[in-house]
C-alpha cells in the first residue's frame, strides 16, 4: 500500500507548456529523488544564485518578478525579504510554512511528496537572499508521507553538497531542520507558527514587532509558504521578465489550485493567474463539471476563509484583484464547489465548528464569538432556531470582524456573512420551518 496522494494533476498539460512550470515533473515517480531532480535541471538556480549573484540581486529579481505569497495573504515576496534589517548582528532565519490546514487546501502536500527538492532549493535561495544560515520547514504533524519525503530529500541534498558547509565552494554554510507540528490550524498563522517552533503553545503574537524584525528566537525571520518558495528557482533560472509575462499584470505567474467538493474531477491543477473560474470548474481538462450533472449552488474560491460566490459570479478570473473586486479573495487558491443539494446552514455549521475548534483562545472576540456562532448555527441546523437568530449571528460577526489579534477571527466570520448576504431566505426558511429548504445527504460510494 502506498500512502502517496493519488490526487489528480494537470502535469501533462504543464509539461507541454513553456509557461506553466511548477507541476512539470509532478507525475514522474522518481522526481522526489535528488538524482532525477538534478537531471531535470534542479539545483541549477541555487548554484547560480550562490556563485554568481549578490543576495540583494536575488531579492530584487524576485521582487521584479512580482511573485506574491501563496500562503493566503498574497504579500509580495521580494519586498518581504527586503524588510530584514541590514547589518543586524543577530542570526537571520527563514521558515517555510508547510502547515497546510485550511479546509480545501491540499497543494503544498503534493509538492512535498512528489517534488520536495523544489521546496528545498527555493528555501536555500531565499535563505541566501536574507543572509540566513539555518532554515526550517514547519510541516503539520499529520502529514506522514510528506514528512518522510522531505526528510529523505534533505538527507540527499546534504549528501550532494546542496546543503551543509561551504556549499559549491562558495564559503556559504546552510543548515536545514525539518520540524513537525502537533495538529493545530492556527500554527499556519506565521506568528503562532514561530511560537510553536520555539516549543510554546501555538498562539498568535501581537504585531508589531513583525517577524522580519523580531521573529524566531527574537531574531529577524522570514516566513514563506511552500509553493511560494518552490516558485523561486524558476524565477532565478528564467528571469523576472519571463515570470512577469505569465498571468496578469498585478497577479503575475502561475499557481496551484486545489479543486474539491462537487466536481467530477477534483484535483490539484496549475493555472496561470487570471484563469476563468468557470472554465476551471467545467473544462474537461480540470473539474469537468458538477458531480452528477447537478446545478451549481455556490463556490468558495480561495479556501474556507474566503467569501462565497454564486453561479452568476463565476466568470471571474482566478487572481488577487479580480476576486477582490467581486467581494471574495484568492486566499490559498482552494476552490470548493457546492451543488444544488447543499444546505447552506449545514455547510456553515461544518465551517464554524472548524474555526471554533481551531481558535487559539488568546483574544475574547474570537474565542467566545466562534463558540456563540457555533451554538446559534447548530441550533438552526437542528431545527431549534428562533426568530431573530440570523440578526443575532450578524451582530456577533460584527463584533469579531477587525477586532482580533490575528486574521483567524475574520476568517471565521467572512464565509458566514457572505452566506447570509447571498442566501438569507434559506437561513430564514431553516428557522421558520425547522428544516432545510434542500435535502443535504451526501453518501460516500
Amino acid at each position: 500500500m502506498s500512502f502517496y496522494s493519488p490526487v489528480r494533476t494537470n502535469a501533462q498539460e504543464v509539461a507541454a507548456s513553456d509557461r506553466l512550470h511548477l507541476f512539470k515533473y509532478v507525475e514522474d515517480p522518481e522526481q522526489h529523488t535528488v538524482a532525477t531532480y538534478e537531471a531535470h535541471g534542479g539545483y541549477v538556480a541555487w548554484k547560480k544564485a550562490l556563485t554568481t549573484m549578490q543576495p540583494e540581486e536575488v531579492a530584487l529579481e524576485v521582487k521584479t518578478a512580482g511573485l506574491r505569497g501563496r500562503g493566503g495573504a498574497g504579500f509580495p515576496t521580494g519586498m518581504k525579504w527586503g524588510f530584514i534589517p541590514k547589518g543586524s548582528p543577530k542570526p537571520k532565519y527563514l521558515v517555510c510554512n508547510a502547515d497546510e490546514s485550511e479546509p480545501g487546501t491540499c497543494k503544498d502536500r503534493v509538492i512535498m511528496e512528489r517534488d520536495p527538492h523544489a521546496m528545498i532549493e527555493g528555501m536555500a535561495i531565499g535563505a541566501f537572499a536574507i543572509g540566513c544560515h539555518l532554515m526550517f520547514v514547519y510541516i503539520r504533524g499529520e502529514f506522514g508521507e510528506p514528512i518522510r519525503s522531505v526528510r529523505r530529500a534533505v538527507k540527499e541534498a546534504y549528501e550532494r553538497g546542496h546543503l551543509g558547509k561551504n556549499i559549491y565552494g562558495s564559503g556559504y554554510d546552510l543548515d536545514m531542520i525539518v520540524h513537525t507540528g502537533g495538529g493545530a490550524y492556527i500554527c499556519g498563522e506565521e506568528t503562532a507558527l514561530l511560537n510553536s517552533l520555539e516549543g510554546k503553545r501555538g498562539q498568535s503574537r501581537i504585531r508589531p514587532p513583525f517577524p522580519a524584525i523580531e521573529g524566531l528566537y527574537a531574531s529577524p525571520t522570514i516566513v514563506n509558504n511552500v509553493e511560494t518558495l518552490a516558485t523561486v528557482p524558476h524565477i532565478i533560472n528564467r528571469g523576472a521578465e519571463w515570470y512577469k509575462s505569465l498571468g496578469k499584470e498585478k497577479s503575475p505567474g502561475s499557481k496551484i489550485f486545489s479543486l474539491s467538493g462537487h466536481v467530477k474531477q477534483p484535483g490539484n491543477y496549475e493555472l496561470e493567474l487570471g484563469h476563468s473560474l468557470k472554465d476551471f470548474i467545467y473544462n474537461p481538462k480540470y473539474g469537468g463539471g458538477i458531480l452528477g450533472d447537478k446545478a451549481l449552488k455556490g463556490v468558495i474560491p480561495g479556501g474556507s476563509s474566503t467569501p462565497f460566490l454564486t453561479p452568476d459570479m463565476i466568470e471571474v478570473g482566478l487572481d488577487y484583484e479580480s476576486l477582490t473586486e467581486v467581494g471574495s479573495m484568492l486566499g490559498s487558491g482552494a476552490v470548493i464547489v457546492f451543488n444544488e443539494d447543499t444546505c447552506i446552514v449545514w455547510a456553515l455549521l461544518k465551517l464554524i465548528h472548524f474555526y471554533r475548534h481551531e481558535s487559539c483562545g488568546k483574544c475574547t472576540p474570537c474565542r467566545e464569538g466562534t463558540g456563540w456562532l457555533e451554538q446559534l448555527i447548530r441550533a438552526i441546523e437542528q431545527g431549534r432556531g428562533r426568530p431573530g437568530d440570523v440578526e443575532k449571528i450578524e451582530s456577533v460577526c460584527g463584533n469579531i470582524l477587525g477586532r482580533t489579534i490575528c486574521p483567524l477571527g475574520d476568517a471565521a466570520v467572512m464565509p458566514i456573512q457572505s452566506s447570509i448576504r447571498l442566501w438569507r431566505d434559506e437561513w430564514q426558511y431553516h428557522i421558520d420551518h425547522g428544516k432545510c429548504m434542500v435535502k443535504t445527504h451526501f453518501e460516500f460510494k
Partner: protein, 162 residues
C-alpha cells in the same frame, strides 16, 4: 519508564540541533507519541529530564496540541476528516459506516482494543475526499469496498504481529 533508550537518544539528538532547547519539545512529544501511542504527565517528566527543560513547559505544549492523544487509544487510531470538502463527499456517512462495521460509536475503542474511531478537522486531502488517517498513514478517495479492505488488512496485520 515508558520511553525506550533509543527514543531518549533521538530526542537528545533532535534537540541539540536547535538554537534553543525548548524547540525540542514538539519533536520529543512526537517521538513519545509514536512509541507509546499517547502522552501523559509521566511522559512529560521523562521528556523534561531527557532534553533538560522544565516539565511545565512540556505539559503546556502537550495540552495545546490535539494530535497527541492524552489517554491510551486502540492499536489503530482511525481519524476521519469531517470538514467541508470531505463532508460534501459523504464524510458523515463514512463515519456511520465505520461505526457500523466496528460496532462502536465515534469516540470509542473496540473491545479487542484494536480500533479507536474519531473524527477530526481537515487533513489536507480535500481533493481526494472522503479520507481518513490511520496512525501515520492517509487513506484517500474512500469507498465502502476500500474501507472493508483496509480494515481487513489491518486485522490481518495485527494478528501477524501478535
Amino acid at each position: 519508564m515508558m520511553l525506550s533508550e533509543a527514543s531518549i537518544t533521538l530526542m537528545k539528538e533532535m534537540t541539540a540541533r536547535y538554537p534553543e532547547k525548548r524547540s525540542g519539545i514538539l519533536p520529543a512529544l512526537t517521538i513519545a507519541y509514536e512509541e507509546v501511542g499517547h502522552v501523559n504527565p509521566d511522559i512529560y517528566r521523562e521528556i523534561a529530564a531527557a532534553i533538560d527543560v522544565p516539565m511545565v513547559e512540556v505539559a503546556e505544549a502537550a495540552t495545546f496540541y490535539t494530535m497527541f492523544p492524552k489517554e491510551p487509544v486502540g492499536t489503530y487510531l482511525i481519524q476521519v476528516c469531517h470538514n467541508i470538502s470531505c463532508a460534501l463527499m459523504g464524510a458523515d456517512s463514512l463515519v456511520e459506516y465505520l461505526e457500523e462495521k466496528l460496532g462502536i460509536k465515534k469516540g470509542d475503542t473496540t473491545p479487542d482494543n484494536l480500533f479507536t474511531l474519531i473524527s477530526v478537522e481537515c487533513l489536507g486531502s480535500c481533493s481526494t475526499a472522503p479520507m481518513m488517517q490511520i496512525n501515520q498513514d492517509f487513506y484517500e478517495n474512500l469507498t465502502r469496498a476500500k474501507v472493508d479492505q483496509i480494515l481487513e488488512d489491518l486485522r490481518e496485520k495485527a494478528k501477524a504481529q501478535a
